[in-house]
Symmetry: D3
Subunit: 62 residues, 6 copies
């Protein structure tokens, strides 16, 4: 604990994902006082065809 | 808000997914009075080998 | 399958939740051809202090 | 998008939760280039009796 | 890793939850070869009014 | 109900996944008294580049 799940559209680089894991871990540890080695970060990438807002998908607007 | 996640076995067409996002958004907006543009729908497709009921997987029954 | 999880801020009435379960089940069944008796709907209510957009929580703006 | 879910044991103060939402939003926006107003943060608090590691629950060790 | 989330209707005793965490940890560790101290189990209890199958909620049938 | 989601790093064999579904179903049914045919198990595999503990990813340590 804590376990942080980041759902985001696919397309970020491996460097961005590495920085995301590091920066989110710091943010959670520093605000909740959970030791950094207890913080788990999970990235869930999404296909634009599997995501919609207001009833529409980004993949239908390109 | 609201955020709707639909977990289902892989295999539906892109048209089915488009209709699913639109119809679920309408259903949620009309029953909860959340504005349509605030409703997010996420589709999570599952491999039949990663899903089981009563201890068995559909992929083991074909 | 399918399993539908609806995350929304707390505050809806029991009638709204009943209608939400029924209407979302119809929307998913009719667009994916999954039999209605295979569709599970789960409602997860959220406390406004546990939710934020753009770094701010609705509970901090009242 | 992105949607960030933070699961953690109950017990943090409201101030900690406000800072957590703000700092996690910054961390995600700055590393993924997603605009801050597109970042959603959800906090899910857990009862120690509903959480275990290595087969044991913290609530059984006090 | 692995992280196991068990969603179930509220109502089980604390003893049942303790046994659930222990037995699920054993089952996951023994079949995936993940060390037991790396296995996290999370229980998410659900209110019968927040759950439905085939468009109906158990709470509406009592 | 219950619905069990097992998040784990990719790489297990199909046999391991079959045993995991069967053994987790038994563990949940026997401790919660939920009938086996009501227990759903979902496996979510993760890419090592999408997972981190203490701010670091296993994929960055190889």
């Amino acid at each position: 604990m804590p376990i942080v799940t980041v759902q985001m559209l696919e397309g970020r680089t491996d460097d961005q994902k590495r920085d995301l894991v590091a920066r989110v871990t710091d943010a959670v540890s520093e605000t909740t006082q959970a030791p950094k080695d207890k913080v788990t970060v999970i990235i869930e990438e999404m296909n634009p065809a599997h995501y919609g807002v207001a009833g529409e998908r980004p993949s239908d607007k390109v």
